[in-house]
């Protein structure tokens, strides 16, 4: 336990040296907090139709609406306060990103480690499937699956998982395959410890570093994919807009100069994704022994 903690503090000490990575981590934390407490800090509940008035729709930033407060970032075509809509949209985007990332991590890792451990036919079957999928662009896969399943949160997460589990499977497989050949696994099996115990207690922990990196990147990717699908009109229903949906709603008004409806949700989305990616980059560099001197 104490060995784990000291490793963690070493990791943090190295992480802390990269200032932009620390800043990115702070930004991610703040955005998660904003999403968690959206209900408390938003000036308006954007999902409560009784709160919305069409007289307030498409107003520029700084407009004082019929609610009696200032819309700092303006309002959208439905008359929602854009700042509130962004907080709530952030919540939905992060929710979906985390859910899709976690489910793909579980499914992908299980498949990858099983393939590496069992070998033979199972290995060939699983990894052929994974390779086949990896050669196919995720966006296309997600597009088709959403088109097949219809709209909704569960369907969307399903589509994202189907598009992304393969990355985890490949990574877990690569790491586990390397571990499989090592002596400590042979030794553990010779004691004999049960295969299940060896798999989950000994192999899995040694495969985690690359999986953490992939998970970070894939959560950012899920959020970005979800936004893209929503933008194309294939994501979530209009009643609970994610960031992508907010951007999409504003797109038709952009030509007439009402830029804020698309731009501010977009800025929130970009900050979130870029921050997650910077954190992921730093973690990857720290895990990569080849870049160490």
């Amino acid at each position: 336990m104490s060995a784990d903690r000291s490793r963690l503090s070493l990791f943090w000490a190295e992480y802390r040296e990269n200032r932009s990575a620390v800043l990115a981590l702070v930004i991610v934390a703040v955005m998660i907090l904003l999403a968690l407490f959206a209900g408390l800090i938003s000036p308006q509940d954007p999902y409560d139709l009784a709160n919305l008035s069409l007289r307030d729709s498409r107003r520029p930033p700084g407009f004082v609406g019929s609610g009696g407060y200032t819309h700092i970032l303006g309002t959208d075509p439905q008359g929602r306060d854009l700042l509130s809509a962004i907080f709530y949209g952030l919540r939905i985007s992060i929710q979906i990103g985390l859910a899709a990332g976690f489910v793909s991590l579980t499914i992908g890792t299980t498949l990858g480690i099983l393939a590496a451990y069992l070998g033979g036919r199972v290995e060939t079957l699983i990894m052929r499937l994974v390779d086949l999928q990896l050669s196919f662009p995720a966006i296309l896969l997600a597009l088709v699956i959403v088109a097949l399943l219809g709209q909704g949160k569960a369907q969307l997460i399903g589509a994202l998982v189907a598009a992304q589990y393969a990355y985890f499977a490949r990574t877990a497989y690569g790491a586990a395959k390397a571990e499989r050949g090592k002596d400590y696994i042979e030794a553990a099996l010779a004691i004999p410890l049960s295969a299940r115990l060896v798999l989950w207690r000994h192999m899995l922990p040694n495969c985690t570093p690359p999986l953490i990196v992939v998970a970070t990147v894939q959560i950012a990717n899920s959020i970005s994919l979800e936004a893209t699908l929503s933008f194309l009109g294939l994501g979530l229903p209009v009643t609970e807009p994610s960031l992508g949906m907010l951007i999409s709603n504003g797109f038709p008004y952009m030509m007439s100069g009402r830029y804020w409806i698309s731009v501010y949700p977009g800025v929130a989305l970009i900050i979130l994704i870029v921050a997650i990616n910077i954190v992921g980059d730093q973690v990857r560099d720290q895990f990569n022994p080849r870049l160490r001197r």
Binding site: L132, S135, F136, P137, I139, L140, L143, V144, A147, L148, L149, G150, A220, S224, A227, T228, F231, L232, G233, L234, I247, F251, M254, M255, G257, Y259, S262, V263, G266, L269, I270, I273, V274, I276, N277, I278, D281, R290
Partner: protein, 324 residues
């Protein structure tokens, strides 16, 4: 070598067969297209007649066999909505997409590899740091957002470039192309930049990572010791050594750019295949969806097959590994 080609070829055919089953059943298992095809006030007779004419009353497996036998004769069915052969429909849109994709990928590769080698060669200079920072942006910012910003800035704010459409085209070999005319080029500029940015970021990272690793190897040390100039080392040795992953990614990216063109074409109203497929998904025009997916799958399998062959030519280990 021949055995290797045959083995890969059989694999590719197998993959295509599996893909056709998945795509077909996936797409045909949902929704009822008959409601879209005929008006809601049609009589029962017209309805049944239409169902029979479109072959919607057959069991699923029978539809599949009809589909495959037609497919092998080059017939991908008729669009429910446009009432014309799907192949003709897609074929008519393909040049616009190909033009866009090729211009983007080639620009992205040439520029990306040059910048990436520089960033890998001098990792600590501020230019390299800027290049890498920009590439992180290009990597993480969703492409539809970049498209929006491009439109907002160049089309709405500055008014320099058109925000959508294809502009003037020139007929070459009976096909309309935009790139030979100035007006066409101005229309292609924004979507092409949009599409290229993501690939550019990827090429930069790939070339930089390769360069950083290879500059530390003995090959480069010996080349330096032999008194070769840095330019020669970069051109003759480094470029060759980093080319394998770049060729792979170039091939794969060609395919995935086609997929991403779906997003770009929608934003810029570019009349290509991607816009067609989005419209078809919205109205459940199944023959078009199936045909598009099969064609994309075919494209990917072909690209993978070609990459494998190129690999085998460049790297003898791949050849021998396969025959052993």
């Amino acid at each position: 070598m021949l055995g290797f080609i045959i083995q890969r070829f059989i694999q590719a055919v197998g993959v295509m067969a599996v893909m056709s089953v998945i795509v077909f059943f996936g797409v045909y298992a949902i929704g009822n297209p008959i409601d879209i095809v005929i008006p809601p006030d049609a009589t029962q007779e017209i309805r049944l007649e239409a169902i029979r004419r479109l072959g919607l009353d057959q069991p699923l497996y029978q539809k599949y066999f009809t589909f495959v036998s037609n497919l092998l004769q080059g017939d991908l069915g008729r669009s429910f909505v446009y009432n014309m052969p799907v192949l003709e429909l897609i074929g008519g849109r393909l040049p616009a997409t190909l033009e866009l994709v090729l211009i983007s990928v080639i620009c992205a590769t040439v520029l990306g590899v040059s910048l990436g080698i520089y960033a890998g060669y001098r990792p600590d200079s501020w230019v390299s740091k800027t290049i890498m920072a920009v590439s992180v942006l290009g990597f993480s910012v969703p492409s539809f957002w970049v498209g929006l910003i491009l439109i907002l800035f160049f089309a709405v704010h500055l008014g320099w470039l058109p925000a959508g459409g294809r502009g003037d085209t020139v007929m070459i070999w009976g096909v309309a192309w935009s790139f030979p005319t100035l007006n066409g080029l101005s229309h292609i500029a924004l979507p092409a930049i949009n599409l290229a940015l993501f690939k550019l970021a990827m090429m930069i990272r790939l070339a930089r990572a390769g360069t950083r690793e290879i500059m530390l190897t003995d090959t480069i040390k010996f080349a330096r010791a032999a008194g070769l100039s840095e330019a020669t080392i970069l051109r003759r040795h480094l470029l060759k050594l980093i080319s394998i992953p770049i060729i792979t990614v170039f091939g794969l990216e060609l395919g995935s750019t086609l997929a991403f063109a779906v997003v770009t074409e929608t934003i810029f109203s570019w009349p290509g295949v991607g816009k067609l497929i989005i419209d078809s998904i919205a109205v459940l025009d199944r023959p078009v969806m199936v045909a598009y997916l099969i064609l994309v799958a075919f494209l990917f399998v072909t690209i993978n097959f070609v990459i494998d062959l190129v690999f085998a030519l460049i790297d003898p280990r791949v050849r021998h590994g396969a025959s052993a």
